[in-house]
Amino acid sequence: MASRLAIRQRYLWNAVLAAAAVLLLVWSLFPFLWILLTSLKAPAEIISVPPKFVFTPTIANYTALVMGEQQGQYASARPDFPSFFLNSMIISFGAVALSIAAGIPAAYALARFNFPFKNALAFLFMSFRFVPFIAFVIPLYILYHVLGLYNTHLGLILAYQLISLPFTIWMLRSFFMEIPMEIQEAARIDGCSAIGVLVRIILPLSGPGIAVTVILGFMFCWNAFNFPLMLAGRQTFPVTVGAIQFISYEQVLWGQMAAASIVAVMPQLILSLLVQKYIVRGLTMGAVR
């Protein structure tokens, strides 16, 4: 009798677990699925009551996106999505390239050398992760107008360093610190200079770490919204700011906005599968392995 009860309890417990798993699955997946459906609908179907799950799919939203045309009747707002996508690519690549170039020596110094204020400096870089962006955007906005950097790719790449450089330094530092000190010391005894150690030992050994840093840095830059919202114009908008342009005073192009959202997250989904194991480490700036 008692064992029967125990079995019953176990079944019940398993059912609860399974239900929770399904709930979690729906919670994480459904919004994405629904937007995918929305992006394949014609305008009338999007606002139909009740919402439709079965309909004839159309790729009109995507073609409109690629052609830079719109289905609506107003011409004043015409988001040029392909160029937004290109802008995102240029700015994110540029920002990451600059961050890696500047971050490798900085991370090496912070990981392997002792100098005054070393920890303070490391924490200063970390603190940029937490600073409200607007404290930088306002002066940058004024400065950029004076310097002619407003609404330029270069200006955005420089502003993005606030996102990507601290991250790069902390990530690379955590990867560099994983390399055993003994290898470095052996190289020094064999007559290798400090820079030689970096170029011949550290960099080759942390190749995968650098690749992960590049990919994650790229993803963070891709996600950026605040800096381009205020420092970019229509010619340099990335996809994040671009997607919001489908909401205008005259109308909201739901279908195209959904399609734009799907396109905008595609690189993120593909890249996050590549670096699955490192995402948590990246988001905590190397704190959690």
């Binding site: 798993a21 919670w27 994480s28 009740p50 919402p51 360093q161 905008a264």
Partner: protein, 270 residues
């Protein structure tokens, strides 16, 4: 990187209207005084702090539940774990736009449609003051719950196994194990996610901008959004910057508090 910030600090002490550069002058702390005496400031401060408190509690609480759940031997755990990465790396703006589509206020919105099955009347998600606050909270939670759960899951998987074996020998129940063993051992990780979530909630902007734009009736205007309005809608750069400095001080204070907490847990764990 420090130069623009120093420049900003200087601007916060000036009267600087972008349209009227001639009226630029040094006004000491006038910006700060007029800000604090504004009724909206008190409301924005209240919303910022209240939202942060609720968001951190909800997200860390739920995140802990999800982490414990994924840590238990659930079938399909790896698939679930991989799928949870999806919301994680999406741009918050895009996340907001997705939810905005789902949260349409009529029955055409899929969320209201689904709620109608369990007898809930259509909710005016972004149109009502309470609805807007809840909506922002839901969207922010969707985007950040995976972060909390995955960090905590990583923490759970790194815990030593010996204390658990000892506890089982002693006949401790699952709840006692959770309370006296898991939570204390996990506390460094809990403080870590709390730190990240607090800092990000204090300066949440993307979600608010894309969905409610601070409204309705300023119900979702936080300090950051107020600073944005001052500087980029009304172009009062000095006042906007003063607001940003106030927010920055708030961030510094909370990071100090959390740092102390971190040191305490680190000492206890050692």
């Amino acid at each position: 990187m420090m130069y623009p910030f120093g420049l900003g600090l200087y601007y916060s002490l000036t009267s600087y209207w972008l349209q009227y550069p001639n009226r630029f002058r040094f006004v000491w702390f006038d910006n700060y005084i007029s800000l604090i005496s504004e009724p909206l400031f008190a409301r924005a401060l209240q919303f910022t702090l209240g939202f942060t408190l609720v968001a951190v509690i909800v997200q860390v609480g739920l995140g802990l539940v999800v982490a414990l759940f994924l840590h238990a031997r659930v079938p399909g755990r790896n698939v679930l774990r991989a799928l949870m990465l999806m919301p994680l790396m999406m741009p918050p703006v895009i996340t907001s736009l997705m939810w905005k589509i789902m949260m349409a206020s009529t029955n055409a919105g899929i969320l209201n449609h689904m709620l109608s099955f369990i007898g809930v009347d259509p909710i005016n998600w972004f149109g009502s003051t309470q609805g807007a606050v809840v909506s922002v909270l839901i969207i922010d939670t969707w985007g950040n719950l995976p972060f909390v759960s995955l960090v905590l899951l990583g923490g759970l998987q790194a815990l030593p196994t010996e204390p658990y074996e000892a506890a089982q020998v002693d006949g401790a129940g699952p709840l006692a194990i959770l309370r006296y063993l898991t939570l204390p051992l996990l506390s460094p990780f809990l403080v870590l996610v709390m730190t990240f979530r607090t800092m990000d909630s204090l300066r949440i902007f993307d979600v608010i901008y894309a969905t409610t734009a601070g409204g309705p009736n300023d119900a979702t205007t936080n300090l950051l959004f107020m600073a944005y309005q001052y500087s980029f809608q009304w172009f009062q750069m000095g006042k906007g910057m003063a607001q940003a400095v106030v927010l920055l001080m708030l961030v510094v204070i909370s990071s100090y508090v959390l740092m102390r907490l971190w040191n305490r847990t680190a000492e206890n764990a050692a």
